[in-house]
Amino acid sequence: MIRGLGALYAKNISMNVRAQLQYRYDSLVRTLAFLVEPVVYLTVWTTIADQRGGEVGGLATGTIAAYFIVWMAVRVMNVVFTPYGFEWRIQRGDFNAYLLRPAHPIHYDLSFFAGYNLLQLLTWLPVAAVLVLAFRPTLDLRPLEVAVFVVALWGAYLVRSMFLWALGMVNFWTTRASALFELYVVCELLFSGRLVPMDLMPQALQSVAGWLPFYWTFGFPIDTLVVGRSNPELATGLAMQVLWTAVGAGLVALVWRRAVRRYTAVGN
């Protein structure tokens, strides 16, 4: 079974890389659009840091620059199948084709976006190079941190995929669950380190964030490279990602069983 799924993943990843290569300019524009959010954060926070004598909340200007440049790579890997897609897929009846295949539909989405994100990640490299020249980030890298960062990127991808897939299944009950996605994004902005590094957030918020999945999808991979965590902290972070992936997968399995019973297979 694992071998069969492996072949499915390999094929779908390669197919989506090929599909994206058909649209070179679209991929490029998408990457540039992705730039806007971190560049705004980067500009605002480095300006504040400069005005405060070169640091804010204990983070130096160079560290903040590094944070948001690495942020971009994490954001690219955080692109997953969202409840918007779910809503669209159910309304158009596209879900029928997925349900008729002899594998759980989540595998197509996981492999699809894995292929998609891989290519986007490649386009991030030159952009990051330009930002490095412009903002002079401070990074003190250890090989272990780089290795953990690469694994944590995929961990973040899996955690976010599982929770948004579970959330998307609400569409089986309401047909309009995208408002929940908006709520998810608000929580993500507050608790993940997406808006600002968690070190700059109030202590109470940081404590709550430790009990939620959001930080492990955003802040943790970035902190791995930028803040410099100890080896036990890196191991704990990866373990937390495994834990939240398992929780998300359990949630998906639980909701899925009930959701397909309600499926009305509208459309084609």
Binding site: G4, A7, L8, A10, K11, N12, M15, R18, A19, Q22, Y23, D94, N96, A97, L99, L100, R101, P102, A103, V260, R261, Y263, T264, A265, N268
Partner: protein, 325 residues
Amino acid sequence: MAAVQVERLRRVFTVPERDPGLGAAIRSLVRRRFRQVPAVDGISFEIAAGEVVGFLGPNGAGKTTTLKLLSGLLHPTGGTLTVLGHAPHRREPAYLRRIALVMGNRNQLQWDIPAADSFELNRAIYRLPGPEFRRTREELVELLDLAELIRKPVRNLSLGERMRVELAASLLHRPEVLFLDEPTLGLDLSMQRRLREFVAAYNRRYGATVLLTSHYMADVEALCERVIIIHHGRIRFDGRLAALAARFSPHKEIRVALGDPSIDLSRYGEVTGRDGDQVSLRVPKERTPEVTARLLAEHTVLDLTVEDPPIEDVIEQAFTDPVPG
């Protein structure tokens, strides 16, 4: 053992409804109204392995819902059904590898890349061994004349071309049971004929069981010896296509060409048409021998044929007949 067994199958949908207008929209915020719609209402039938059966009915009769139940997309509200020994709604991979549901406007191909790439994905999905996959693909490419098409991005294909490629993609795993929902929808006449020939060839070559819905009677006449007619979720007829006219049409069509075309034939039956010298008469079935004999005895007949009415008319009659079959 039957490939498909359906026993008192029911599927009821809960449908929200409200009156038009702003007032009704505001009222629906606090009080929702729902209606129970039985799309499939206690139908029973069996289909033998290798049989090709036409599943007919007007729009909203329950045809597509039945196909979706049989393919496992929908859970039944009541009754039992098994296909190839599996309960479809469990959607076991072993079951899904043995069937295919092809819908007229289904899109399982990746839009931006050639269909050949999507075929490769299906190979991985269905875990098809390389040699078997290549052999089936070559056969399908030959039968459906796809050699040029599968190398083009799907978005560049016409509707008819895309339908053929979609069909091939659905059959790469050589399903033993094929559910075809309006497979010729939107295709031109020549493409319709080609698809019909293909389905017949696939059935012959692999002994596949086929359940087909279509609004085109040419599809049904070309492929199905047996038809099931469903209306308002209930079966009205299940039998040989040839027996359908006997059951539902109380008339026969007599086409006669006389030496003197000016003779008024309305006293023999209802004149339904005139084509040159040929006159079409509709007569009650039990009077057909008598009317035919009188026409031959009383006039100089150049040509005379007795036929069942067109199949479309018979099926329409089956939909409107108040007595369930």
